[in-house]
């Protein structure tokens, strides 16, 4: 069934249709709130409130418009409201959590990959909060640049420059080197600290 017809049904008070929207967009809403607020419990609270806002606002929504941008605006408004009332403390980066799939038998390539992840984590932690947020919205919530501009309230040009500066800063910080005879891919990369 087309999304517009699901929305029209939800607008008439059909809770099954509304449930379908919730299930379709749950991950997007949660990831966006998570990236904006940096806190898991806050993201869950904001998501619930945002969906209730959507339910209340559906009667005034024009079903021929795209639902996703409107939904993201609702989530952004709820997140701002939450942030105004709470001191949101982003969870600190746990470097040990980044050591994935690495075992002693996996060889030097995986050890190097682990080092790369650690280095990237340190580099990310050193970025200004605004740059980290746009990266999280881009690479965790999978929003495009226009959507990031909408949810952060920043002009599109500002978002582009933040992403560009953040990626540049990460590249500079990482300063990775490659062995000439190593195979392609991240597994062949070494950090400067190894030399």
């Amino acid at each position: 069934m087309e999304e517009s017809s699901v929305i029209r049904r939800a607008q008439t008070g059909d809770q099954r249709a509304f449930q379908q929207l919730v299930e379709t967009y749950h991950a997007l809403v949660w990831r966006t709130a998570r990236a904006l607020l940096g806190d898991a419990a806050a993201a869950e609270e904001v998501e619930q409130e945002a969906w209730l806002d959507v339910w209340r606002g559906l009667p005034t929504f024009q079903a021929d418009r795209s639902f996703r941008p409107w939904l993201l605006t609702v989530v952004a408004n709820r997140s701002r409201k939450y942030a105004r009332r709470h001191v949101v403390v982003a969870e600190p980066l746990d470097e040990s959590a980044l050591e994935i799939d690495v075992g002693a038998s996996d060889g030097i390539a995986h050890v190097l990959k682990r080092e790369q992840r650690r280095e990237l984590a340190r580099a990310l932690a050193s970025l200004p909060a605004e740059q980290t947020r746009v990266l999280a919205l881009r690479y965790f919530a999978d929003l495009d640049l226009a959507e990031i501009a909408a949810v952060t309230g920043a002009p599109l040009g500002t978002v582009k420059s933040r992403v560009h500066r953040a990626l540049g800063a990460l590249r500079e910080r990482l300063s990775l080197e490659r062995e000439p005879d190593a195979p392609d891919g991240a597994a062949s990369l070494k950090t400067r600290a190894d030399y």
């Binding site: 409201k81 105004r84 690479y139």
Partner: protein, 239 residues
């Protein structure tokens, strides 16, 4: 060894992995829907939550010059009776659960019961208490609203409290809740302030509280609703 930049696609992929490890996966949707459907059921029980329900109940043609039939008149009369009854049902009903959270409960609140209006929003400072841990102020607010819509929504800015010796204290924490009830949009707030540092231990605190509505950009807008009241100073007492 050859110096090289990390390729864009490699960096982007690494960032996706990094954020995924940092933030994790979304929780299952079932518990969320369970909570949402409970809210929706609760709102349905208030019967007039959605304009579609109102429209269906009365079926009044939008541009019709016809008068209401007897049946429609009775339905409208019943609705108004419910709405008026609900209007006298104080917004403070939202406030009481907030005053029962662990940080606020167990205190002897003084009744302040001062009401001010900001535009069409009526704000009442209902109860407050001051002890060695907190100055806690409970506020209810409501705006007339026949049909729930964005235009009915409102919010209060984080307030400042001024003491008798001119100390200005910013709220440390704010609890809030809001709901639509037939005829009005309601909200409740509990503001937590750290107690003022006063010379001696006065038996009473004379407090001045100013509340602003919040604009679309999140900043305080318009005039302030000002409240002046006195609280017993329960120094040494806390929950």
């Amino acid at each position: 060894m050859i110096q090289t930049d990390l390729q864009d696609s490699e960096l982007e992929q690494a960032l996706r992995q990094q954020f995924h490890k940092r933030y994790g996966d979304p929780p299952p949707v079932a518990p969320l829907w369970s909570q949402l459907s409970a809210h929706l059921a609760s709102q349905e029980s208030h019967s007039a939550q959605r304009p579609g329900v109102l429209a269906r109940a009365f079926r009044v043609p939008a541009r019709s010059g016809r008068r209401l039939s007897l049946r429609q008149s009775i339905a409208l009369g019943l609705f108004l009776a419910v709405a008026i009854g609900a209007a006298s049902y104080s917004a403070s009903i939202l406030l009481h659960p907030l005053l029962q959270v662990p940080a606020a409960e167990g205190r002897v609140y003084a009744h302040v019961d001062q009401t001010r209006t900001l535009g069409d929003v009526t704000i009442t400072v209902e109860q407050a208490v001051a002890d060695s841990d907190w100055v806690i102020i409970g506020v209810s607010a409501e705006r007339p609203c026949l049909i729930p819509s964005d235009a009915c929504q409102f919010d209060l800015a984080a307030p400042f409290l001024t003491t008798q010796d001119g100390q200005e204290i910013k709220a440390k924490a704010i609890l809030s809740d809001s709901a639509y009830r037939p005829g009005k949009q309601e909200a409740a707030y509990v503001f937590f302030f750290k107690p003022p540092q006063l010379s001696g231990q006065p038996a009473n605190l004379n407090l001045h509280l100013e509340l602003h509505l919040v604009g679309d950009g999140g900043e305080p807008v318009g005039d302030a609703a000002a409240f002046d009241f006195t609280l017993p100073n329960h120094v040494g007492a806390s929950s």
